[in-house]
Amino acid sequence: MSAIVQSRKMILDRVRAAIQHPGKDLADAAVEYSALPHNYTRRGSLSTAARLQLLIDRLREYDAEVLECNAGELPAVIAAQLAASGRHTFVAPARLPADWLAPGYEWRLDHGLNTAEIEEAEGVVTAASCAVADSGTIVIHHTAAEGRRVLTLLPDWHLCILRASQVVEVLPEYFDRCRQQPNSHSSEEDLSMVTPALATYISGPSATADIEMTRIKGVHGPRFLHVILVREQG
């Protein structure tokens, strides 16, 4: 045990001795940090329609199936997707909106499901926190409507529902949203998020190119990714 305690001190001493100004603390580092160059593209330049179209194109390049609809149509579109999947047993996060749970299927809501119960399910339906059009990335922060990490991992089929207002064009715009503190009187349209303790960024279905650089879809994660993009009303 003491050897390990000594290692901590030894490593930190070595690291500090290696650098010219060992006396610097976090506040000094923060001043230095704020002077670092950030001249890359921090904001997108596309119109809303073009931004959404870019996301759709990128997702389709990954072989994800993408549908668009209005908020009012959403429950019917979800039901149609479930029917088209030919699957019957689905898991869902505990706080998934009730009208997304289309009737006629076996729904296992995650009030502490065990691994076997999730593994047996044929699909999963979740919300998301954000999407980045430029790279076709879906951001999941594992909130109550997005579910625990295991939920979007074991089932082979994932239906993810995104609101158009959640779509940003470039990655730095997502990180800007994360920096904002959420409004205390948070309305439906408040898009700010806290920096997540857990996050998964999904850019297309699980894939490998380890054998002769041939891209194979579906190694361990879900093999089928479906996205419904909900346009805001008005």
Binding site: I19, Y40, S135, R149, A197, I216
Partner: protein, 495 residues
């Protein structure tokens, strides 16, 4: 079909033969060279097109370079901040001064969990400390879960690339390995079928083995978060299903802030695999009740890194984010593949990282495994000036050789001492030339070329022929033209 190279590659820098010797089995293995060249051509083409579409690529590189430099210059501060935040979130941070300590810490943690098996996400750092053989010797079997790592583990091969470790193995070789080790006689060599075989093989392990080991792509000081970037989902499986997670990370992996990922993630996927973004990025912070492992340990590894940090020109080596763009673009790596580097870190970054991690006691041939063409610097997403560090290290190797007592026995040493005298006076030089022409004449064949020379001269003719000396030197030709000649005629050309 042909098995992997008959001579088993040695990736321990303390035991590996020097690069020029280690490279010979590869150069004599056309299948291996074909596999490597094919894989590299595919990645290179994808990378080039995706980098070209990014109009702010150079600005991203500059930002990334500045962030990594800043993180290293404040490493002590950020490591402590990471430790505080990670601990507050329910994680436990361990510090390992060297490989032996890291192995022991991990083994002790596994013994606490009474683990006899452990699942692993691909981590080059664990290969650096040779963790798997150590665990095996102590009764813990480690199952690799990355497809390439499974191919290597089951085929008893060694990684030859840091992103696509089995790029030197082709589909029929994979088929042979899987058919033999998984008992699947009728397996085809379709990559899809092979991938499926791996999925089935691993599914049960993911669901039943309660302890996992990972590496880390980044540690976030600001939040105490850990980031793992992957494609297959085996990482997510290992990060989500087990009860205990042990992450091994080099101390240099720390980033100051969560937001720094907006730069790093854009650069990493494009540079590494030629994708706009890798399929899965996972971020977790300590322990989250009800979600994922409820025990989380981070082992921070020094193992020579702090000594690299101490030298200002060499420090940039630690900026590396392990994208492998340098090896994909390197004309030397393209011909040799990774095994010749005698380290888990091959290619240009390995040529500077390995000897430094060994504190220049081993791997001294690696700084010479380069043509200094600079392609690696050009593609590096964090702007590591690899040729600059290579030259620094070459100078250090020469300094070491100067101090060696046995150098008086080295013909090269005497050759250079003699050359020093020969070049000092014109008459000595001319006399030497005269003797040299006679001497080399003995080795010159009828075609005017020298194919083989003895002693140190063999270092040249080992890889290329040498043209025999002409009958007349320029000097004597010039003198024979007489005083009437002038430069204009010369430029006009002899008739």
């Amino acid at each position: 079909m042909s098995r992997p190279a008959a001579t088993h590659p040695v990736l321990d820098p303390t035991l590996a033969p020097p690069f020029p010797q280690a490279v010979l089995p590869v150069l004599r293995n056309p299948q291996l060279r074909k596999n490597v060249a094919h894989a590299i051509d595919v990645i290179q083409a994808k990378r080039a097109s995706l980098v070209a579409e990014k109009t702010d690529w150079q600005e991203l590189r500059s930002a990334a370079s500045a962030i990594r430099t800043h993180a290293l210059e404040n490493l002590g501060t950020y490591l402590e901040q990471f430790e505080t935040r990670c601990t507050a979130a329910g994680g436990t941070v361990h510090w390992a001064a060297d490989a032996a300590q890291a192995r022991q810490i991990i083994l002790d943690l596994l013994r606490q969990e009474k683990a006899s098996e452990v699942i692993k996400i691909k981590t080059m750092t664990s290969a650096e400390i040779q963790l798997n053989p150590f665990l095996e010797a102590n009764g813990v079997h480690a199952f690799e879960t990355d497809l390439a790592e499974i191919i290597l583990q089951l085929g008893e091969g060694e990684p030859s690339h840091i992103v696509v470790p089995a790029l030197h193995v082709n589909r029929s070789q994979v088929r042979e390995i899987f058919a033999r080790t998984m008992g699947l006689k009728d397996l085809s060599d379709d990559p899809k079928v092979l991938t499926n075989a791996a999925r089935t093989y691993l599914r049960k392990k993911f669901l039943t083995i309660p302890t996992a080991i990972s590496g880390a792509n980044f540690l976030i000081a600001e939040t105490g978060g850990v980031v793992v970037v992957e494609s297959e989902g085996n990482g997510r499986m290992c990060l989500t299903l087990p009860q205990t997670m042990i992450t091994l990370a080099g101390i240099e992996k720390v980033l100051p802030r969560f937001q720094d990922l907006e730069v790093m993630l854009q650069l990493l996927a494009r540079s590494a695999t030629g994708e706009r973004m890798n399929p899965y990025t996972s971020i977790w912070t300590g322990v989250t009740p009800g979600d994922g492992p409820q025990k989380f340990h981070v082992v921070l590894l020094d193992n020579g890194r702090s000594s690299i940090l101490a030298r200002s020109k060499h420090r940039q080596t630690l900026k590396c984010i392990r994208c492998a763009a340098c090896m994909n673009t390197c004309p030397v790596y393209r011909q040799t593949g990774g095994h010749a580097y005698g380290s888990v870190y091959p290619g240009p970054i390995g040529a500077i990282l390995t000897p430094q991690l060994m504190q220049m006691h081993h791997a001294q041939s690696l700084p010479y495994a380069s043509s200094l063409c600079g392609a690696c610097y050009e593609v590096c997403p964090v702007k590591i000036n690899i040729p600059e560090v290579l030259l620094e290290l070459r100078a250090e190797v020469i300094d070491q050789e100067r101090k060696q007592p046995g150098r008086a026995l080295d013909p090269m040493y005497w050759g250079l001492r003699i050359a020093n005298v020969l070049f000092s006076r014109a008459w000595i030089f001319h006399t030497a030339q005269w003797f040299g022409r006679i001497g080399l004449g003995l080795f010159t064949r009828k075609d005017g070329w020298i194919h083989s020379l003895p002693s140190v001269g063999g270092k040249w003719t080992q890889t290329r022929d040498l043209r025999g000396l002409p009958n007349q030197t320029f000097h004597s030709w010039w003198a024979s033209r007489g005083p009437q000649s002038n430069g204009v005629e010369l430029i006009g050309g002899t008739k």
